[in-house]
Subunit: 250 residues, 2 copies
């Protein structure tokens, strides 16, 4: 049995309450989320798993009144975009792989505090970030090598079981989007746990939002998150269909 | 102040503990997760937000010993795939939009228990699922209309602020992957809250896994989740780089 002294012991019902009360909230009270609360939630968001530890994600909270007013319009003026005191843009950044690689290489070499990597692990990690990561993500200008990589992966797959990694521009977008979405869910739950609410919005003018925020070409907006404290009537009825349609055991 | 009688009151520290202790666990004890626990966790996973309520996700737990042995190999025999008592395949199902649409239409018309939709909302929802949803997702055979839709969205965007929805095959894949990833994070956290652990794996032979599970063409595997109870030494050091690299306020 777990005891309260167990550092891994968690309270399932407390978590379930967070997951159950997290709803896409459309109407908000005007009061802001305190900075320290939002920071704590964002820190928890960044604890989501991310492949190869390359952290291909970015969260941009738009505070500047002019930018915020414009962003509300670029989210098509939908109710949560209009009402929520905060709008946070979650961005997939496949191009961050270079920065993440550099940071990982530095961390491995410096044996960052508390890592205590055994020498064989260090050698394996060194090789991974030196050779494997560029092999996956280095596509040349305009992802010109992407189709070639996909062809090679396909050809190898004809003969043997092999890893079909997400190659090329579309693959990298998919990869970074997946990882960023994991962090988004953490963020929405963290906000709920802190007594606040959110609404993940997919309806926006992506090219114009990217221009507003000065985001480069490879960046893709995963969602714009409206956040604040829920107002009465801000939640639609919950529809979820029979779980057996979505969960199988084989 | 919130009181414990407040149905929306949550315990932030209890949630933070779940989010912090969730790590990608590579070594597992052999004991299984009880069915009722796994079911509760999957139910919480399906409470993640999903756009238009179309639930484009599927979770397949592989139990059959022969299939499971094969799946471990198709996950390239990596440590968590080899050791974890459970492997759950998270699948993005863009093709589920048709089923979701049909179910939503039936729910709207029948005024499913507890919905109490006001008449104007019902009319709006009816129009949405009758016209808007097919406009977004209906691409004709082989997504032949996808490029045309993208062109139209681009052309409209030249003149006005407008919604650039994810059109075509790649867009629908991205859309369903994003939504499924949100549910994956819920699932990993729910497992942790229940005292268990998981490892999201991206390294697998996707075409062969799809064949093993009889999944159709449009299905895309978001991750294979190893799950069970963590064994000593199953967790690597946590690397996260300076938050200011990933969180901005503008």
């Amino acid at each position: 049995m777990m005891t309260t002294a167990d550092p891994l012991a968690c309270d399932f019902e407390a978590f379930a309450r967070v997951a159950r009360t997290r709803r896409s909230v459309r109407a908000y009270q005007p009061d802001a989320i305190p900075d320290e609360v939002l920071d704590k939630c964002l820190d928890l968001a960044l604890l989501a798993p991310n492949s190869h530890n390359l952290e291909p994600w970015q969260f941009i909270e738009v505070r500047d009144p002019a930018k915020l007013a414009r962003l509300r319009i670029l989210c098509l003026n939908q109710l949560p975009a209009r009402e929520a005191p905060h709008l946070i843009v979650a961005v997939a950044r496949p191009d961050f792989w270079r920065m993440g690689r550099r940071l990982m290489q530095a961390a491995i070499e410096s044996d960052a505090p508390g890592m205590h990597l055994p020498e064989d692990v260090r050698v394996a990690l060194r090789a991974k970030y030196r050779f494997i990561i560029p092999m996956i993500f280095q596509d040349g200008p305009f992802h010109i090598l992407g189709p070639l990589k996909r062809f090679i992966l396909w050809a190898i797959g004809l003969f043997t079981i092999s890893w079909r990694f997400d190659a090329g521009r579309a693959g990298q977008t998919l990869w970074a989007t997946r990882t960023t979405a994991l962090a988004c869910q953490n963020l929405m739950l963290a906000l709920r746990a802190a007594g606040f609410d959110s609404c993940p919005m997919e309806g926006f003018d992506e090219p114009r939002v990217k221009r507003l925020l000065g985001l480069p070409g490879p960046a893709r907006i995963v969602m714009v998150l409206a956040a604040g404290r829920r107002a009465d009537g801000g939640v639609a009825p919950l529809y979820r269909f029979d779980r057996t349609l979505y969960v199988r055991r084989v």
